[in-house]
Symmetry: C2
Subunit: 331 residues, 2 copies
């Protein structure tokens, strides 16, 4: 489990800049280059994906980088797993907006001998499962594997209800999660050969490993939540504590978690900070409508995990302060 910064000393070095500081600086530059911020109905940098108006339906755009040794370790899974996950993590961002994936571009840079065709086979599997069509890409040599996926989605049925932004939650909203958490981190722990769960609980290792190697984007859940009047959503990529904190920050609400559904075989620590589970956290002011919509769609019932509060700086789990955690790069 990666905590806020693996090397706090480096983070404080002169000239070293934190990922989120850099993103904010770049956002300002790019907004200035555009001559203005995003117009009404559009969302640019700062959410799981961007929403732009092209034609009648809003279009949702997102991109993700997967870097060998940082996000994937080809020694832990097959190249097909790396490919599958590369596409799914981008589609998960679209799911967190309530958008349906339509097209993706896939670029790969890799050292000689990398089995790019097997990575491509994994991408094709994920594309077939989700109905997302790979329409282009680029290939290059490089000293390390980098897979970059850009995905294009649509808000089916037109601009209303709007995309599920991180900023839409209001005090009183109930927070739900679409599934159990910590499985990916526990799967990674097992793949690395670290002995079973510290708390001694059982758990099916292949299932846990699959949660890490073959995450599934919750595409239908995102769309159903959007149509059921949800107010905000985010996918659990960096860890529940970090990701739900982003909803709190963007919406200006506090986060009071009651408890979280921990995947059997995983620890609470892994559920809160492990990340890469790619479940969706959904905020809504109409919880019974959300539950009914999930049931009608044949989806597993989302689990209530807490509420949004009016105390904007609140981040608690069962009344105790919840540390944000989450992985961040520095440059």
């Amino acid at each position: 489990v990666e905590r806020p910064n693996s090397d706090p000393a480096r983070e404080r070095s002169p000239g070293v800049v934190d990922e989120f500081t850099l993103i904010e600086r770049l956002r300002l530059r790019f907004e200035k280059a555009a001559g203005a911020g995003s117009p009404p109905g559009e969302t640019w940098i700062g959410d799981d994906a961007a929403v732009v108006a092209l034609g009648e339906e809003p279009i949702v755009l997102t991109t993700d980088l997967v870097v060998g040794g940082v996000h994937v370790d080809l020694a832990l899974g097959g190249p097909e797993d790396a490919g599958y996950k590369s596409l799914m993590v981008s589609l998960s961002d679209l799911a967190a907006m309530g958008a349906r994936p339509r097209y993706a571009l896939v670029s790969m840079a890799a050292p000689p001998g990398t089995e790019l065709e097997r990575i491509g086979a994994g991408i094709a599997e994920a594309a077939a499962e989700t109905g997302c069509v790979i329409v282009g890409g680029d290939l290059s040599g490089a000293p390390v594997l980098v897979v970059s996926v850009a995905a294009v989605g649509v808000l089916e049925g037109g601009p209303e209800p709007p995309a599920l932004l991180r900023s839409g939650a209001v005090p009183g909203d109930t927070l739900f999660v679409t599934g159990t958490l910590g499985g990916a981190a526990a799967g990674l722990r097992r793949l690395r050969g670290v002995e079973g769960s510290p708390d001694g609980s059982a758990g099916s290792a292949p299932e846990l490993e699959a949660r890490f190697l073959r995450p599934r984007a919750r595409i239908v859940a995102g769309e159903v939540a959007r149509r059921a009047g949800a107010s905000a959503a985010v996918d659990v990529s960096d860890g529940l504590a970090a990701d739900v904190g982003r909803v709190g920050e963007a919406s200006g609400v506090g986060i009071a978690l009651d408890g979280v559904p921990v995947e059997p075989g995983a620890t609470l620590e892994e559920a809160l900070y492990g990340g890469e589970d790619y479940e969706l956290v959904v905020a809504t002011g109409a919880p019974s409508q959300l539950l009914a919509a999930f049931e009608e769609a044949g989806l597993a019932a989302p689990r209530p995990i807490g509420t949004c509060t009016a105390r904007a700086d609140q981040r608690t789990l069962a009344g105790e302060v919840l540390e944000p955690g989450g992985w961040r790069h520095s440059f």
Copy 2:
């Protein structure tokens, strides 16, 4: 100037696969995952960019990877140059389709200490010059700099005339190029400190260096060519000989070049094989219409360089066989 393969022996090694072979294999996999090839009006993998139908206007999608040490050398130019070029090369692909850039996603992976904000400043410059809005991206650590840009363009005015595919040329079409060639390769040669042009011709070094470091996508030229009834287009990224050969191959026509406009200070070799000039090669059955449209738009007159012929395997320059050349990666 890079020729077909820097290491022919490696290319023949078992397990090593050529870039274009790999692209074809991936194309087949992704098409199978989609359940079918591209429907009428859409173009997926295999051209400068993809055309998809979303809403009323067709949307054009493209992506390019820029890898430190492969495509850019931060020792030769500033980080701003690397950023500027990263965006422009993707927009050049849109230009070669006759599309107008609208939005781009920018992802960067880099080692600690990389001046990502300065790279971002160069991207912002290119975005402001072209009216393309950066709406998202991703950042990651990596042992090498990788900038991945995905760009979204539109065919303004709707689906007719269609995008300028590589496959639209027919025998008898005249081939034009939008500017002089070889400048980028000559600029790279000068930046590397190799003494002036082997043929002794003069040339402004700063201008040549700018052609390499700060290429400009021929966006207006691409749009004007599309509206003036051009049949095909490609941008000169890998080298004229290689790129015009792709039009020949995709269209099933021969290519008979009469001559090429060589940038002052560059060699004919650099003009034919250097690449990275990002001028457009345009094929048209209505050359006077193209010339008139360029004049009306206030653009420099495109230079006629040859014709498309019915002898599909013909690749000649002034009657002599033209070697394809061009850079290709292998894996």
